[in-house]
């Protein structure tokens, strides 16, 4: 992507930029600048990640020994429930879109801001309010239903803070809807002159697909939470058999959103990885259009597969077969992406910078997570390993190995743009390595545990499972240390890091054509786009360039 020969703006570190244009708490809490809102999100998302991580630490401590000796079973139930709720609704779903997407989408499309800046700020306040409700519930003992809130457990039997957490998720859901809505309108209406759909960076395509899911899926979970609340408080029955209802209907409505929600977490990470692979292999993405349409394909297919969570819940066997086949179809666009990233690496001039290490980690871990997903989509295998640690391992490979690796890779890639500072190379490369190793030691043993039949959500287990559980707990310690490292050197770099140039990676993309950090209005001269993305100098100007044109 190149700009037309405008009078070239100075790309030296600017005297005023969005970070120092105004000072004081008010200038942050009432800002409408998408870049500042992204930083607000970065802080709050990190807090919830730390809290959810703390729960994970406690869970792994309990599971280091076969006996349930550290926590009572009902405390353990609350731990894994709050771990799931915090990580899914308050870290993974908002994570990449609200932080990186918020910061980068207007920059990448050459706009001054998102289409609705005030709604963008509102969505941060909604997210925070939802988070505060959940924290308040946490202080009052939390919830012990599992993050899935299955009825009639959640409506009739438990005495924990189902309603408070439900309200928290409901409010945070509206934040998610508003973010998605803002992105869709912005991408449709605010692109720079010459920036056609097939000149958009794949990061933007990934977020467009994500936004579709946020807009179309989230309302269904919102109404489902309201139905739970009505049944729990007013005994207006929808799901309780005593009141004439059917609990399986709840599972249908819940998974109609919550399965596509997995793609809300992974699609933005895929967008990040596409940017990283192209930049650090110095090649245009192989099969740009395929990768772009694969994002949309995953978003649409993702809505057709929710029944694979209910194979053993009394679902009709015929519906099960259809859901099984459709679930396997999702592997097609996912595989297109993995193969195209691999083909992009082929004969590329690869540099092993920190973001690239995270991206390569993503590709490997996502592949394992995805392939075990195909195994689980098979009816017979799922009946065997349903509700075991095999499931836990599978979705952590997607969510931690996929989404969080993508998130960290993206943070490392755009950190110089966001803060105008560089972080230490050695420590950041070491963190990528430690996280990769720690992750695999934590979760690979869980595949074996699940295959051997260890069920999820119990605080004790037979002694023969101890070796693998100790491995997993040890790996979690390493993983936790790995996550602490970026926290330390990112904070350090904000004050002491060397100043970054406008384009430290030599990347294409409009966000690198403005200063680091960007000015309040993003660009001093309105960019005009005349070429497709990823036009790297070393790129062979043959078939691929024709393909993306």
């Amino acid at each position: 992507m190149t700009t037309s020969p405008n009078p070239a703006p100075s790309l030296e570190a600017p005297r005023t930029h969005y970070l120092n244009a105004a000072y004081g708490l008010r200038s942050w809490l009432f800002t409408r600048d998408h870049k500042r809102i992204a930083l607000l999100y970065l802080v709050s998302v990190s807090v919830f990640f730390a809290l959810g991580g703390l729960m994970a630490v406690l869970i792994r401590m309990e599971l280091a020994t076969p006996d349930g000796d550290l926590f009572q079973p009902d405390i353990y139930n609350r731990l894994f429930t709050m771990h799931g709720v915090l990580m899914i609704f308050f870290f993974l779903i908002p994570g990449i879109p609200a932080v990186l997407g918020n910061f980068l989408i207007p920059l990448m499309i050459g706009a001054k801001d998102l289409a609705f800046p005030r709604i963008n700020l509102l969505s941060w306040y909604l997210y925070t309010a939802g988070g505060l409700f959940t924290l308040w519930a946490l202080l009052h003992g939390g919830v012990d239903t599992g993050w899935t809130f299955y009825t009639p457990l959640s409506t009739n039997y438990v005495n924990t803070s189902v309603l408070t957490v439900g309200v928290g998720i409901f409010i945070a859901g509206f934040s998610s809807i508003l973010t998605g809505l803002n992105f869709v309108i912005t991408i449709h209406r605010m692109r720079a002159p010459g920036l056609t759909w097939f000149r958009l960076p794949l990061f933007v395509w990934g977020h467009y697909a994500t936004s579709i899911i946020q807009i179309l899926g989230t309302p269904v979970i919102a109404i489902t939470i309201l139905m739970i609340a009505a049944e729990r408080t007013l005994h207006i029955g929808f799901f309780d058999p005593k009141l004439g209802g059917d609990p399986v209907l709840f599972q249908h409505l819940f998974w109609f959103y919550s399965h596509p929600a997995v793609y809300i977490m992974i699609l933005p990470a895929m967008g990040v990885v596409s940017e990283l692979v192209a930049t650090f292999a110095r090649k245009p993405i192989f099969g740009y259009r395929f990768v772009a349409f694969a994002s949309i394909g995953i978003a649409v297919l993702g809505f057709l597969v929710w029944g694979h969570h209910m194979f053993v819940a009394g679902e009709s066997i015929y519906a099960g077969v259809v859901f099984s086949v459709l679930s396997m179809l999702v592997a097609v666009p996912s595989a297109i992406k993995v193969f195209n990233w691999t083909a992009t690496l082929y004969k590329g001039s690869i540099s092993w910078d920190t973001p690239m290490l995270y991206a390569l980690g993503f590709i490997g871990l996502f592949t394992i997570g995805g392939l075990t997903g195909v195994m689980l989509a098979t009816l017979g295998i799922d009946a065997h390993v349903h509700d075991t640690y095999f499931i836990i391992a599978h979705f952590h490979y997607i969510m931690v190995g996929g989404a969080i690796m993508g998130y960290l890779g993206g943070l490392h890639f755009w950190w110089p743009k966001i803060t105008g500072r560089l972080y230490p190379v050695f420590w950041s490369k070491l963190s990528a390595l430690v996280i990769f190793i720690g992750f695999n030691v934590t979760f690979f043993p869980q595949f074996i545990l699940g295959y051997l039949g260890m069920p999820r959500r119990y605080h004790s287990y037979p002694p023969e499972f101890q070796v693998l559980n100790v491995m997993s707990s040890a790996g979690a310690t390493v993983l936790g240390l790995g996550y602490l490292m970026p926290l330390v050197y990112f904070v350090w770099s904000m004050r002491y890091g060397p100043r970054a140039t406008a384009n430290p990676w030599g990347a294409t993309g409009l966000e690198w054509q403005t200063t680091s950090p960007p000015p309040v209005e993003n660009f001093t001269v309105r960019p005009v786009v005349t070429a497709p993305p990823y036009t790297y100098a070393s790129a062979p100007a043959g078939k691929e360039a024709a393909d993306v044109g």
Binding site: P117, L216, P219, L226, I236, L243, G244, D246
Partner: protein, 218 residues
């Protein structure tokens, strides 16, 4: 719907033109309405499932609803949609008094709808047709008749909540309307409110036959 005002201009700083601003507002409002479709959609899905499973109970329960009040409210709401459309038209042609009068009429009709709804709800309480401990229904399948009333209260309640929000916003729009806040160049807020109001009308157009008119020929 949200419009950033920057200084004296009613064109927000991050837009290039009024047309871009208007198209963004319209597309944004429609996208919001699509989320509303799926918000109500969860209840409609539950309704379809349970009605297909228990048709007799649903018919018996539906017969207790007052079809005259339902039809009256349908007419009231369609009338309010007409006045709302004319209010938006007043903004398009720059006639603040037309906009004001029509918004007032919409407000009155919307309140009428809510009043009739309140009468219906009171009647349900009177006959113990409200789900819960005091629920009582004379019929062969009282449990699933109760399910019908759960859905009735869920769907009409959510609809009424949207009406209440709409009426509140309308009340807040009266003064700006008289001041001429909406011009032919920028009446995006008025237009967005119109879309919202018509959407609430649309939901009722489906709720009326689905709740009131089940198997009336028996």
């Amino acid at each position: 719907m949200s419009v950033e005002t920057h200084g004296a201009s009613d064109l927000a700083h991050h837009f290039d033109s009024y047309e871009q601003q208007k198209e963004s507002a319209t597309l944004g409002m429609w996208t919001f309405l699509v989320t509303e479709i799926l918000f109500f959609g969860g209840l409609f899905a539950a309704y379809s499932l349970y009605r297909s499973l228990y048709p007799e109970a649903f018919r018996a329960a539906s017969h207790t609803l007052d079809i005259r009040l339902g039809a009256l409210n349908t007419a009231v709401l369609i009338g309010s949609s007409l006045t709302m459309a004319l209010a938006v038209r007043g903004g398009q042609i720059g006639k603040p008094k037309v906009t004001f009068g029509m918004l007032l009429a919409t407000l009155a009709l919307g309140s009428t709808f809510l009043g009739v709804k309140a009468i219906e709800y009171a009647d349900k309480f009177h006959h113990h047709h409200v789900p819960g401990a005091l629920f009582h229904f004379e019929g062969p399948d009282a449990v699933h008749a109760q399910l019908f009333f759960s859905l009735y209260f869920g769907m009409t309640g959510l609809h009424a909540l949207h009406m209440i929000i709409g009426v509140a916003i309308l009340a807040g729009m009266l003064r700006p309307a008289l001041r001429g806040a909406w011009t032919p160049r920028n009446h995006n807020f008025l237009e967005g409110m119109g879309l919202y109001w018509h959407f609430v009308d649309l939901v009722w157009i489906f709720l009326f036959p689905l709740l009131y008119l089940i198997g009336r020929h028996h």
